[in-house]
Amino acid sequence: MRVGIIGVGSQAKNVHLPTLNSMEEVEIVGIADINEERVKDISKQYEILNAYTDYRDLLNNDNIDLVLICTPSYLHKKMVVESASAGKHVLVEKPMATTVKDADEMINAAKENDIKLCVVQNYRFFPSVKDTKARIKKGRIGEIISMHAYMLDFPPLGAGYSEWRIEGKDSAGVIEDIGPHLIDIVLHLNDSKIEQIYATGGCIGNLDLIDHAQIMIEFEDKSLATLDLSWMAGAKEIALYIQGTGGLLRCDVRNNHVQEIHQYNTPLDDLSSIIRKMRGIVRDVMTGDYFVGPKKFHKEIIRNFIVSIENNTKSPVTGEEGRKTAVVIESALKSIRNREPVFIQR
């Protein structure tokens, strides 16, 4: 598959370029970025022949089949629609969109031009999330009653990160940064339709942005989900507590560990769970996977997307699934602004 990348900032540099470069089935044909120096450096580093400062030039390159869009999310709509019009399959970084209108335009463009659209939602490929999904599907905790999901991470202010998530006029802060990961996991695990959303959040300091937030989702089947997002917590964690009519699931996403609880947990249950968790971590440390973390699953999503293009099957994360995340982001921001719940119209 011949790939072109639009936007070679921190995400592309740290994750996508090394991933694509290590895949035999992929050839990086061209890159485009507004920053000329960055384009030059990267094209030299990865020996890429076609380097552009205007993404439209990359779209005019007939040798490119698949475009990977790694630009700030407010640019996604324009670039996805234009890539689709140019007949390229599109893999877009999360969040695909922050408004439903934008998401719809992208989905329509993909349909009209008969191309495949896929969103980079790599966290659902964590074995712990897959295991949780399988247990829910098998009915091991009965029907879902509620989910408590946490994602605590530091703000993207490290060296090499652009500041659009902090300084951008329309930035949704933590909801737009790590929120899409958690929202996608929750909606992936509970496929019931969303009925209403209530959110609250703000800034611990003095900036006009959201650095911590809670989003509450009520689903059509009366189940609930609470999503706790924070850039400010003194810890890093991504975890889920899923309460079902037949039990409870504790999912430590990052450490790849799932614990199933029925009735109550005896100390021996906890001990056996800790032993299992430690065994898993030691195995991941030995293979090196533990240090790669979520970046490992970019390869899986890209590989699955290429297979779906070749076999004309469903994308691993479809535009429609990206739209669902956009529904939650848009409604959560509206709810925070107006301090009232948002009812989702279908």
Partner: protein
């Protein structure tokens, strides 16, 4: 139904236990029909009692209580195939259960209304005493409705049980005892279950093993999509099959052994329907070996502690 009439009919029938594999609760009506048809002619008529298993306020999707769809399927089957039945659905209050509330909570009341069936809480109506000469009771107190019925259907769940290992058709009749605090019998559970079945023996048992409960029970455990219906006219035979499905030797289940000894039924039966390797399901049902033994140890220590406390008080 008088005991001697029941005995005669039982003698003439072949003792069959049927196993039907299902596709969840989809098309449950025809699945129940298939399961019951394998048993031959049943002669269901007049006043029919149906005993549910509403042992606690747990959602049907937990696998702990009779699924409303299962009852819906059975009532649909009865109404279609038998005319003029007076159907009464029964259950009693239990230590942790109020079936009158559970009935409304999970929509059983609407199903009863749909099929014109009555609801009868065994704990809230007059009782009678019946001399049985059982292991625990010489004379047992049961609901007066058991003096005035023509056919009795037991509708249990397929579950593991922390005290009796399995709970299926025989244990369901323990729930027919009209007492509220049934936990007082937990130390002689096997004997009381056998006695309850001697006094209130079901004519037909249909075990809901579509969504079962394993690794614990009878209230909390792992819900399992085992997709089975086990039916039979002999509760001992039905429980023997259920024990094998779960992974226990029926001869090592106290209440099965004791019920057979009392003449409630027999462990000799003919198996019809889906024949498969029971061992395929065993690992899902049985809790891990260490857990089973740790729980046993916990119960022993609890009893010992209670006994020590009692002795200290006595001194």
């Amino acid at each position: 139904m008088p005991m001697e009439v029941m005995e005669t009919r039982r003698d003439k029938m072949e003792n069959i236990v049927s196993i039907t594999k299902t596709n969840g609760y989809n098309d449950i009506y025809s699945q129940i029909e298939t399961s019951i048809n394998m048993l031959g002619r049943l002669g269901i008529s007049g006043r029919v009692l149906i005993k549910l298993n509403l042992c606690d306020l747990r959602a049907p999707s937990s696998g702990a209580i009779t699924h409303p769809l299962f009852l819906d399927g059975l009532l649909g089957y009865l109404r279609k195939n038998y005319q003029g039945l007076d159907i009464v659905v029964i259950e009693s209050d239990a230590t942790v259960s109020r079936p009158d509330i559970i009935l409304r909570w999970f929509g059983f009341d609407k199903i009863l209304e749909k099929w014109d069936a009555k609801w009868y809480n065994l704990s809230k109506h007059p009782t009678i005493k019946r001399k049985i000469g059982g292991f625990y009771f010489d004379e047992i107190e049961i609901s007066a409705i058991f003096d005035n019925y023509d056919y009795f259907i037991s509708l249990p769940k397929l579950k593991t049980h922390s005290l009796t290992k399995i709970t299926a058709s025989l244990k369901n009749q323990f729930g027919c005892l009209p007492y509220w605090r049934k936990s007082k019998f937990h130390n002689q559970l096997d004997e009381v279950i056998a006695d309850a079945n001697l006094a209130m023996r079901p004519d037909l048992c249909i075990v809901d093993g579509i969504l079962s409960l394993g690794s614990g029970g009878a209230i909390y455990g792992v819900p399992l999509q085992s997709n089975l219906i086990i039916s039979g006219t002999d509760p001992v035979s039905v429980d023997c099959v259920c024990a094998k499905i779960i992974g226990y030797n029926p001869r090592r289940i106290g209440h099965i052994k004791k019920s057979e000894k009392l003449g409630v039924g027999t462990s000799k039966y003919l198996l019809r329907g889906e024949v498969f390797r029971f061992k395929e399901l065993n690992s899902d049902f049985r809790p891990p070996f260490w857990k089973e033994n740790v729980l046993r140890l916990g119960r022993f220590l609890k009893q010992r502690y209670t006994l020590t406390k009692y002795l200290k008080k006595s001194v």
